[in-house]
Amino acid sequence: MTQTALAETRTAEQGMAAHARAWLDANLPDALREDRPSTRRNTVAELCDWEAKLHRAGLVGATWPKEYGGGGLGLRAHLDISREIGRTPMPESVNSIGKELAGPIIMAVGRPEQKAEYLPAILEMRDIWCQGFSEPNAGSDLAGLRTRAVQTADGWVVNGQKIWTSGASKSRRCLLLARTGPVEDRHRGLVLFALRTDTPGVDIREIQSIDGERSFCEVFLNNVVIPEEDMLGSPDEGWAAATRVLSIERATNRMHRAWRFENQLNHLVSACLSDPATRHLAESTYRRALAEVSVNIELLKGHVETLVGSLIDGQEIGPRGSLPKLFWSEAHQGFARLALEIVSQFPVEASDTLRVARKRMEDIYLKSRAETIYAGTTEIQLDIISKRILQLKRKA
């Protein structure tokens, strides 16, 4: 980059926080606000429309290259935008797999024509992606996956089953992990595909989750033919490249989390203060517990901001990505438990303000149970830290 181009990028980055704040304040529809009463669920079409608008405003894909519809900015800009997105009580993305997982992997291992086809479609919300990694017998032990891909003259023929595939029934593409050899090969011979979910032989069945939603699915793959051009990377290298990207993603995905968490805490406290019958909950009964949550949120910001700084300095993140994951998932579950205890004491005949907060906190409580399971369970994060960061001896 030339000096002027660099300077322009820096100026654009510096303006991002203010731009994001002003834009979100002016454009978030009331119907999508998580702190407003609502009588119905948002449709996928509404959410796609909203997210496409976010992209047009430059608030999504800020760090992606301009040629693929991104903003061409640095990670600092993404952090600034994430803070504002977090502070705004808006729905989580329906395409975070596309934006935060598939996209970066495609950028790392995709061929130019794949990048041109897949990447803009993610940002413009034409393609929603899902992640087909976990299987009934390969959860924490992902390398035990059995879905087989066999190369033929017509392309790859894939057979097997995926499970817990979030959003599969809404997706057009699936980032599918399969193996080319026997199960005993473990990490070797794993291949990644950009599978179209409308391919014949793909059978998607929704699974109801504890929050009452149908957020994840089973995906059955029966003689599914995937054209060669939808393979990502080469059969043996795809996975290695993908895991490199994944360690960064684990550390940086949903960077807005700490600030959304703060928004949830502020919502809970302001709801308590809105009514003489509930003021004591925040002012005295749970005062200290709420302050401790607030301290945890600051500490989480410390993890996120320091990590972003390290990435900008070009440092390797590697297994250190497990640290913020472990911290936020447990801190947020702790908050959710407290929040539920507090809203459970709201009066029966509650105001709208109290009712909306109660509904939001109940939902957060149930959803938070998954936070220590997905993206590697707590036990797996602890294993990674003890094995790869502390490098503890495991045998005599």
Binding site: V295, L392, K395
Partner: protein, 325 residues
């Protein structure tokens, strides 16, 4: 402030470690103060006019981290901050602090009513020449024991920097403004977190070493997942303290005061947890006087009280309620 870009806070790590080790061998506080001053550590924050190095707060962090990890028995945090605070107020005094001739400390807890009262939690006050006591006007007076002030022995957890009480009958001495005291207290939060970080890192490293050496059931303790996970959580705690000290000092930090407060409160809680966990991992050995994990734990608990961790949580609560209202 010096803009010598050649210097990096990490450059002080080696020196600080070596001096801390030398201090452990030294006979008493005067010798330790000489060693610290010779290495330039007492004056790291003070202006050059009083013999200091005029470096930003971030440079004191690796020094205090080494001090915390190495059981330094000197009021280094207090000397660093008081030398800077008194420069320009009383240059001769500031120079004497920097040169190590005058060890000084602070009574971190309580304040005088008028010119008398009892204040406490003054680390090493019995060995120091002067003690800063805080007044109701939020300013401070540097009193001299024996001259209108008496240092009284107090029961204390910390073995390296035993705390004492100061009974003041007529406070007199060089004074600090309320602003200077506020700055001193704010900076002390991050520096205490640095002391705690050093102690917690040492606890973790001792526990990890012990877990890999000690054999039970025919294999090292570290072969058991529950021990691995204990240590992994301690690693997260240490990294949380480290990252938050970094954040509190970063020019990119939007609200450094809130960050520093959370950093200290977090360090007090997490640091103590790491020390407790290290004791657990050591089994019966962890409960012995000889294994120095308890020294770290004692220091962390004393620092938590000196920094007023409980009051700070209350301040966080007050801010949270005010923002949400």
């Amino acid at each position: 402030m010096t803009t010598d870009t050649e210097l990096n806070p990490e450059d002080f790590v080696e020196t600080a470690r070596a001096v801390t080790t030398a201090c452990a061998e030294a006979a008493g506080l005067p010798e330790r103060m000489d060693l610290l001053a010779e290495a330039g550590l007492t004056g790291i924050l003070a202006p050059e006019a009083v013999g200091g190095m005029d470096l930003p707060l971030g440079f004191a962090v690796p020094v205090l981290r080494a001090a915390g990890g190495g059981f330094l028995a000197a009021p280094l945090l207090e000397c660093m901050l008081l030398a800077r605070a008194f420069a320009g107020v009383d240059d001769a005094l500031a120079s004497a602090i920097v040169s190590g001739e005058m060890p000084v400390t602070v009574a971190w807890s309580g304040m005088l009513g008028g010119t008398s009262g009892v204040v406490g939690r003054a680390p090493l006050a019995e060995a120091c020449a002067r003690v800063l006591v805080l007044g109701a006007d939020e300013g401070g007076v540097l009193v001299t024991p024996g001259e209108g002030a008496m240092v009284e022995t107090e029961s204390t957890l910390d073995l390296e920097r035993p705390e004492a009480r100061v009974r003041v009958t007529a406070a007199s001495g060089p004074e600090l403004s309320a602003d200077a005291v506020a700055r001193l207290r704010a900076d002390a939060l991050v520096l205490r977190a640095a002391l705690i970080l050093g102690a917690a890192e040492d606890c973790l490293s001792r526990a990890a070493d012990y877990a890999q050496e000690r054999v039970q059931f025919g294999r090292p303790l570290s072969a058991n997942q529950s021990i691995q996970h204990h240590l992994a959580r301690d690693c997260l705690a240490v990294e949380t303290i480290r990252n938050n000290i970094h954040r509190s000092l970063s020019p990119e930090c939007a609200v450094p005061a809130a960050a520093a407060r959370a950093t200290f409160v977090g360090a007090a809680t997490l640091g103590a947890r790491v020390a407790e966990s290290a004791i657990q991992v050591h089994g019966g050995m962890g409960f012995t006087w000889e294994v120095p994990l308890h020294r770290h734990l004692r220091m962390i608990k004393a620092l938590a009280a000196q920094g007023g961790a409980a009051d700070l949580i209350e301040a966080v609560a007050a801010d949270l309620l005010a923002n949400a209202a």
